[in-house]
Symmetry: C2
Subunit: 365 residues, 2 copies
């Protein structure tokens, strides 16, 4: 059975549909949520052959006008240049305001295609078909669209909610195992900040989830979408409550950058979560033992943390300080009270003394 | 006295303020409508020295953090490349989500700076300080942001309403006379589609307006902003009613393109208005004599129409047909009933037989 979770964004409500085998029903879903004169599928050259061509065939058999616009896979493609090229391709192919964009792929595809949809002829409808854990539970929910610049990730973009998100756990079977682990880090984060019972479920089902067992995957994806959906529904434009989703990410991003991106995003955020829990414990905000619980839970994901020990603490501090400058002198941390609950005293995040941050980072080596 | 007209967009309301000498009060207006940690003024290298530097000094004396980001003047700068460069400049200068962008300039600056504001860190506040008739009465009202691509104008963009529009007729005195005439074409258009009495006022005041007389300019700018504001408030996303603003533009754009842009935008739209009125008269939709009335009214603006006679009718038809293809086979025209009133039978625009269009175009030569 298909699970339907309503997400509210920009005064509209759009559904996230989660179901095993759901992609086979795509044409019917399009008719219901995004009827259009033409469809443009955007996908990368790895996911494209696996799923986008099947999407194309299914749409064509249902009598729809649809074409494929592909780009080279990877974060290196999440640029203004790829966005420009895709936009030009759509114009050359004669797409107009009555076209709808279907993003088929992981987080990069979702963010990039959403930015194309947000800006093509000042905005056309978008359907998100996430094909990774990360895209299903994180990137596709919340309406964020964007690309990277030389100064950092996601620095240019828009909010452009899709008409519908279609999450079919069947596609996870082809996902490389590194990407499964990495994506599940965000699921653990959702449990850590919002739902202790879900956190326990994730620990119990870690093996099944890593194997992309459709039943376990469907349950986790639905739980995470529901949790993230509640957060972004309450605070779509990142003013306040939505900050809690940054748990683990202030240090995570810094670790990732300081490792020269040899540390994967998932591994960096996992380490960031453990370290930010340590920060909280030092400050007596976070229940003692929380960072250990996180550490052992996340260990089950088998993340590749080798390069963590080679990260230069000074490089981490320097990244934090330049990031801080960009945020007008404020580097903020989301702190847990315990697994499943976030601190909310001076807003949903707080500043933490540099010396303490440095101490926790130096404990790494 | 300052005239304040509320424009509604995306569920928010923002004011357009019209007043002689208003720019001197900029810091106070910023405090009221867009308090921010820092301000980034975006301007081109022609308007910059005239007004942006004065804006900078005034803000600095009022204790505000503000810097200037400039680009080469002209439509050639309304590109994704300029947008990328401005975005990178803002990032390099350390601007963050708590910065506000102030667009000081004509239509190109307004559209380009608005697209920067719409996409910088997924959107920051924007203040529009239009310095031309066209920007005051047209470009700055309605929240459109965008740049051109090789396939055409404004094909990439967003809707990003400003926090406030500040129209100070004093700045019109430095505007080149060609640009005054060109901008006033849009004022005549507002009269033609919505308000016969305003159309008559424009005819009576044409000389004063061309001289940038502050009193006449303030009245016309306020009237046009009020009229355009009512239209976009009713129909922000171009679904229906807003189409009436395209009167004169279907043929105008085609003439402009077919002339290889030797015809100015204003002159092309003026010719387009007269020709679209002729179309309407042929179809017995538009009151007989309307195109003559328009033609003599617009003649007062002294537009440079020399190159109109050299435009190749075939090139116009070919542009219309490629434009049509992009709009999925529909090329639509807004037709007048008479000066001050638009036809609304099959929606606010209608298709017109190619042969008739061709006839009207061939009458040119």
């Amino acid at each position: 059975m298909t699970i339907k979770i309503d997400i509210s964004a920009s005064g509209q409500i759009y559904p996230a549909l989660i179901g095993v085998g759901l992609l086979k029903q795509l044409p019917v879903i399009l008719d219901e949520y995004a009827p259009a004169y033409r469809y443009a599928v955007i996908s990368d050259d790895q996911v494209g052959p696996l799923y986008a061509t099947a999407v194309l065939e299914r749409c064509r058999s249902a009598g729809k006008k649809v074409d494929l616009h592909s780009f080279p896979a990877g974060e290196v493609s999440k640029t203004r240049k790829s966005w420009s090229k895709l936009t030009d391709d759509l114009l050359d192919a004669g797409h107009g305001r009555d076209s709808c964009i279907i993003a088929v792929g992981g987080g990069v595809t979702g963010d990039l295609a959403a930015f194309v949809a947000a800006t093509f002829l000042r905005g056309v409808p978008l359907i998100q078909v996430p094909t990774s854990y990360l895209a299903m539970i994180d990137a596709a929910i919340g309406g964020k669209a964007g690309v990277d610049t030389r100064a950092g990730k996601n620095l240019v973009g828009a909010f452009h909610p899709p008409k519908c998100v279609i999450a079919d756990p069947d596609v996870l079977s082809t996902l490389p195992s590194d990407e499964r682990s990495g994506g599940l880090v965000e699921a653990f984060k959702h449990g850590a900040i919002l739902d202790a019972a879900y956190y326990d479920d994730l620990r119990a089902d870690t093996e099944l989830l890593l194997d992309a067992d459709p039943v376990a995957a469907k349950a986790a994806v639905a739980a995470s979408i529901r949790l993230k959906g509640q957060v972004v529904t309450q605070d779509e434009l990142e003013g306040g409550y939505r900050q809690i989703l940054n748990f683990g990410h202030t240090l995570g991003h810094a670790l990732e950058a300081a490792s020269g991106y040899s540390l994967s995003h998932g591994a960096a955020v996992a380490a960031g979560m453990v370290m930010e829990a340590e920060l909280g414990e030092h400050l007596r905000v976070t229940e003692s033992g929380t960072s250990k619980t996180l550490s052992s839970g996340l260990a089950g994901l088998g993340l590749r943390l080798e390069s963590l020990s080679q990260v230069d603490p000074e490089a981490v501090m320097s990244f934090l300080s330049s990031d801080k400058k960009r945020r007008s002198g404020r580097s903020r941390y989301v702190l847990l009270r315990r697994i499943g609950e976030v601190e909310n005293t001076e807003g949903w995040s707080r500043e933490v003394p540099d010396l303490l941050v440095q101490e926790v980072i130096e404990d790494l080596s």
